[in-house]
């Protein structure tokens, strides 16, 4: 009994602090940039699918790859990062609070990111950075593109530092108490983001900026790609974990249930921290110059991510079943009917969860070492991440917006907006099923990703592809209608919805839930294991890459680049 007491920390009730107007302004600023990005990035997506249908030519000599770069950068990097940071701040503000000083520093983070975003956007719009969102060397962009990206990352670090400080101040004021679950999750995500983005920061500062300025004649291409993917895979989890935060700790409240297990949720986040970073080689499986042994080791580590993903799936099914049975559901799947299907705060994220089933299954195929050659650099991969980030993550972010924006703006989610939201979620699902499905099949038929419309000299295999490209144009057009509707809903919720109070739903634990072990708060242990795994997975191959790489490459500005 004594031991049990020592090993656990006291349970605390869910914190729900009021959010002041100046705080709301900060959080809404981040979220607003995300929705502006959605509109611009979505329009670029529409142009791409139209061009690839072979029936449309871009006007005024606009280059396809310029449009593609805007689409990738503004949706993959800008929209996601701004929404996530705004959501992180809202969760921290609600559960542990934010001081005036912390808020001021958070504004500095916002403006650093805005300056960086504007610099990057201007270089892309001037056609000086058509290097796609992965900015692979030896394609060269204008130095302002890289400096702008570096500023966005630095701004996001400052935001993360504020989050850590918020939790630290709270813990000082609440000795012996476990940190609120959502604050714990935000801290995991920001720690992961910081450790991961160090890789891309090193690549940008040490390799790309001097090389694009002409101070360095050549660049080590393999090293730059390795540093990018050291960052690029955890980037995917940086997008996904905020969706998981909503699934674990917010959705149960929306459906009228309780948190399934505080400890399970924390454990799955800790496992994501461990296994999101030392796995970047599974994006480089066809790359020469990396020893296959180290590829195999990182493939094995990648498969470890399946564990917390399946823990999440189990936990969600269990939450739905327990809640449904409490509402009187009978039979094996009777609980399914008890879910609030007419509540868009639930429906949109639920469709996101469903999309993650084929998304995750596709991910396992992608990371299966030699089998990766089946789909590598085909449009299957594009179809894959349009399921994961553009459906799972986006529909969950939309689901969050339906309560978060009115909560921050002192307004109400009306039945009319709720209905529009349901229509929006259905439009998104139809559009994405057509577009992503066509991309998956076309990829299996060998069609490349990232390429503008081409008949490839009239090859026989190519004739199989055009039908799928037409389907992508139809799906993409439906998706753009979904984007227009979502932007309309955003404006309505922000400025025109009736004044009132909208709930900030945070799930509570069961009355008799087991206490969470105190060792979950051992940050030194979690960060130590994370760093150890990274060192094991990367030290030898990176030394190998530096020592044995061929001569570096001079910049290429053609066919795409500057």
């Amino acid at each position: 009994m004594q031991l049990a007491k020592k090993e656990t920390v006291s349970k605390t009730s869910v914190q729900a602090l009021p959010i002041s107007k100046p705080e709301s302004r900060l959080y809404m600023s981040f979220i607003s940039v995300a929705f502006i990005s959605l509109l611009i990035g979505g329009l670029m997506g529409l142009l791409q699918v139209l061009v690839r249908s072979g029936t449309f030519t871009l006007p005024a000599g606009i280059d396809y790859y310029q449009v593609l770069t805007v689409h990738g950068v503004i949706l993959g990097l800008v929209l996601t990062t701004y929404f996530i940071i705004g959501f992180h701040f809202s969760l921290m503000g609600k559960t542990v609070g934010i001081s005036l000083k912390q808020r001021k520093v958070a504004w500095i983070a916002f403006w650093i990111m805005v300056i960086g975003t504007v610099m990057t956007a201007v270089t892309i719009l001037y056609g000086e950075a058509s290097v796609l969102y992965t900015f692979y060397a030896p394609l060269r962009a204008h130095p302002a593109f890289y400096i702008g990206l570096a500023l966005v990352i630095v701004g996001s670090w400052v935001a993360g530092f504020v989050n850590w400080h918020q939790l630290k101040v709270w813990k000082k004021a609440h000795p012996g108490e476990k940190s609120p679950l959502l604050a714990f999750m935000v801290t995991i995500n920001t720690v992961m983001w910081f450790i991961a983005s160090l890789g891309v920061a090193v690549a940008v500062l040490i390799q790309f900026i001097p090389w694009s300025l002409g101070y360095a004649e050549t660049i080590n291409v393999l090293l730059s790609r390795t540093l990018f993917w050291y960052f690029g895979h955890p980037l995917v989890y940086f997008w996904l974990l905020p969706a998981y935060m909503a699934w674990y700790a917010i959705i149960p409240k929306i459906i009228g249930g309780k948190l399934f297990s505080d400890s399970l949720a924390r454990m799955s986040f800790v496992l994501f921290l461990f296994f999101s970073i030392p796995v970047g080689f599974h994006h480089q499986l066809t790359e020469p110059g990396i020893d296959p042994t180290w590829k195999f080791i990182q493939v094995t580590l990648t498969m470890m991510v399946v564990i917390p993903s399946l823990m999440t799936a189990f936990s969600l099914f269990a939450t739905f079943e327990i809640t449904g049975r409490r509402k009187g559901a009978k039979g094996l799947f009777g609980w399914f009917k008890k879910l609030p299907w007419k509540d868009v705060r639930f429906l949109a994220p639920f469709i996101g969860m469903l999309a993650f089933i084929p998304g995750g299954a596709g991910g396992i195929i992608n990371a299966s070492h030699q089998m990766n050659s089946l789909i590598h650099n085909t449009i299957w991969v594009t179809g894959h991440f349009h399921l994961t980030v553009a459906t799972t993550v986006m529909l969950t972010f939309f689901g969050i917006s339906y309560w978060l924006i009115p909560h921050l703006r002192g307004r109400k989610l009306t039945p009319q907006i709720n209905r529009l939201g349901i229509i929006q979620a259905i439009i998104w699902t139809v559009g994405m099923t057509i577009m992503s499905g066509a991309m998956h099949i076309q990829g299996l038929l060998g069609a490349p990703r990232r390429s503008s419309y081409s008949e490839y000299g009239g090859g026989e295999q190519v004739t199989e592809w055009i039908g799928y490209q037409m389907a992508q144009a139809i799906g993409g057009t439906i998706l753009f209608i979904g984007i227009l509707l979502m932007v309309y809903i955003f404006i309505k919720l922000t400025f025109f919805a009736p004044k009132g109070v909208e709930e900030f739903p945070i799930a509570e634990e069961e009355e008799d839930a087991e206490a969470t072990p105190a060792w979950f708060e051992n940050w030194k242990l979690w960060i130590g294991i994370t760093i150890a795994l990274i060192l094991v997975a990367y030290t030898v191959p990176v030394i190998d890459i530096i020592q044995h790489s061929p001569t570096g490459s001079v910049p290429f500005d053609f066919p795409i680049g500057r």
Partner: protein
């Protein structure tokens, strides 16, 4: 007898998760089918 009653009571407290069990099993089957589908394609090419 008393022991049995205690056992019965604790079983009653446990949530019924049969639907969850079947759901995660179906999820596993879906992953396996898609993986082997891709594997068959990989081998045949």
């Amino acid at each position: 007898m008393r022991k049995q009653e205690v056992k019965k009571a604790s079983e009653k407290d446990k949530p019924d998760l049969k639907g969850t069990f079947v759901s995660v099993m179906l999820l596993g089957v879906f992953i396996i089918i898609t993986w082997f589908g891709a594997f068959a394609l990989f081998i045949s090419r």
